[in-house]
């Protein structure tokens, strides 16, 4: 009797522990946000809004305009997703609908390998090989440009886009395909007119998640984009150096004095990044949750 009582108590402790671990993720998110706020909010008190919404980021002169950094991140991200979206969706369709088995056996592990390559390695590759290529083919003074960064970022977001898009295609019931084929459509017509439109919401999720990945990427972007905090306003800004929010934090945090305005400003950028990626992922998750409520069909 006492023995069984002991196991009962042990079990109670274990299950309580598991419950705590389950809820710990909520705690971590709150902890992260509160520490960003703690270190970042002072900048909004010490620096006037006109200053940090300004167009110049020169911390040594007390100028903390985040606009060039935000636009830099947006430019690189948008171009990266524009490149990665068609490539990623086409690859997902190829893998899921068309590819012969042997091609699938090669493609899927290759994409996993790409997902595993550390960003600093891709950044190194971008610096030593992609940037010189960009410089020579486009005849620009330096290859370390927004465009080179966007290229690298596109490949970094491909694994996310491909795997989410593939899941979306998987979720399209086979009866859709059978019905289209039975009505005399070719396989291509089935894919183009039935399967891909049916997977639309999942593909939107894929793009959102890929975008979230691209906004937050740090090392590769810092090594490849040339890091000039200029406003990217004209179209050829794409072929000039640019500076992103992430790269600014990574490059400058090592050198600032703890507690200085500059230090708090970098945490301020961190808050902006946290909120931005939170919104992007929330939108993506909403699509996932609504899909689940309606069951398999959209």
């Amino acid at each position: 009797m006492s023995d069984s009582k002991k196991t009962h108590w042990g079990e109670f402790v274990v299950e309580a522990g598991i419950r705590v671990m389950g809820f710990s993720t909520i705690g971590f998110v709150l902890l992260i946000f509160s520490f960003l706020l703690r270190e970042g909010v002072p900048v909004f008190l010490k620096v006037s809004p006109a200053n940090f919404l300004g167009v110049r980021w020169y911390p040594t002169f007390g100028l903390f305009g985040m606009l060039p950094l935000i636009l830099g991140s947006m430019l690189v991200t948008v171009v990266a997703v524009t490149i990665a979206l068609p490539l990623g969706v086409a690859t997902a369709v190829f893998v899921r609908e068309v590819a012969p088995n042997w091609a699938r056996e090669i493609l899927k592990p290759m994409i996993e390998v790409l997902a595993g390559i550390p960003s600093v390695v891709l950044g190194f590759f971008g610096m030593t090989i992609v940037a010189p290529m960009v410089r020579e083919t486009l005849g620009v003074p330096t290859g370390l440009t927004a465009f080179a960064g966007a290229l690298i970022l596109a490949y970094m977001s491909l694994p996310t886009i491909i795997s989410v898009a593939e899941d979306a295609l998987d979720a399209v019931p086979n009866s859709y395909r059978d019905a289209a084929l039975a009505m005399g459509a070719t396989q291509w017509q089935t894919i183009w007119r039935v399967v891909v439109p049916a997977a639309r919401s999942g593909i939107v999720t894929a793009v959102m998640l890929g975008m979230g990945r691209a906004i937050g990427e740090t090392m590769a972007v810092m090594m490849v984009t040339g890091n000039a905090a200029r406003m990217p306003l004209s179209l050829n800004a794409l072929f000039r150096p640019v500076r992103t929010m992430t790269a600014t934090i990574a490059a400058e945090m090592g050198e600032v004095a703890r507690g200085s305005v500059h230090y708090h400003a970098l945490f301020g950028i961190g808050i902006a990044l946290f909120v931005l990626t939170f919104l992007v992922n929330l939108t993506a998750a909403r699509v996932i949750f609504t899909k689940r409520r309606k069951g398999g069909l959209r």
Binding site: E11, T25, F35, T91, A250, M253
Partner: protein, 281 residues
């Protein structure tokens, strides 16, 4: 143009896209292997860096990465697997459970540099661990949690409900069923998830920038509260911060990092496919 010709063109375009995706991956790996291989040798892996990193080896960076990965594993495996057990076996579909899922999605999406800021704010400064192995490992552990939780939950859910029902019907408690039946069955999947999570920790640079990484420290760390060099940060330093760095050392370091990550990837794949084939259900 009839619709079969359209189909042929369409399929050709799809295969072209796949090719455009795959070729650069091969190019990255080939260029790093070809240019890095001549740096690799016993000395490169086991010697201290000399002459401002322009000669000698990368031993402290290799050891540092190993220690960091170990520290990360110690923290994130129990929390991650526990969290997955809660979600897969205990949680009902309530408002709270949805909040947990949202938190996981959010954790997975937070940029790595923001983890770095958080680690600096909480572990390095507030808890006064300093730039240390502890601070770096804890930061990396929180970053890898979402990967481990979601893959482990998937592995647990893949175990058929009947296994649990049979355990109940034999008089087992819920925890006994989980511990003796469900966990062992899900173990290969969980291990795969853990490896994939740690793989991310091995390669990340941004979270360790301000929490643990040392620019140039040609010795091993003395304690858990000591700084250390680490492979990804070392690659960043020697490719951007040190002028006149010999190319073969840069490529050699990139190759070592790539080899570590790819072999972990391979192990995870092998475990997954081996057990998937042997599985009886």
């Amino acid at each position: 143009m009839n619709r079969y010709q359209v189909q042929r063109i369409g399929f050709a375009a799809l295969s072209l896209a796949a090719l455009i995706v795959v070729l650069p991956i091969l190019m990255v790996i080939a260029s790093i292997v070809l240019r890095g291989i001549r740096a690799i040798g016993w000395e490169f892996l086991t010697a201290m860096p000399r002459e401002g990193m322009k000669a000698g080896g990368i031993f402290p960076a290799v050891v540092g990465t190993l220690l960091l990965t170990l520290g990360t594993a110690v923290v994130c495996i129990p929390i991650g697997v526990g969290g997955a057990i809660y979600l897969a076996e205990y949680a009902r579909d309530t408002w709270w459970t949805r909040a947990i899922r949202l938190a996981i999605v959010n954790l997975a999406g937070i940029p790595s540099i923001v983890y770095g800021l958080f680690g600096l704010g909480l572990f390095v400064l507030f808890l006064q661990f300093g730039t240390s192995l502890v601070a770096g490992s804890l930061t990396l552990a929180i970053m890898t949690l979402p990967v481990i939780i979601s893959t482990a939950e998937g592995a647990l859910r893949a175990v058929p409900t009947e296994f649990r029902t049979v355990s109940y019907s034999l008089g087992g408690t819920r925890w006994q069923g989980i511990r003796r039946i469900v966990l062992p069955q899900a173990l290969p999947g969980i291990i795969t998830g853990v490896i994939l999570g740690l793989l991310r920790a091995v390669g990340e640079t941004a979270p360790i920038l301000f929490t643990v990484a040392a620019f140039y420290l040609p010795r091993l760390p003395h304690s858990l509260f000591d700084q250390t060099m680490a492979l990804p940060y070392h690659l960043y330093v020697i490719s951007t911060q040190v002028p006149g760095m010999p190319e073969h050392i840069q490529y050699g370091t990139a190759l070592v990092l790539l080899a570590v990550v790819l072999s972990m990837n391979l192990v995870a794949t092998v475990i997954r496919s081996y057990f998937r084939r042997r599985r009886q259900w």
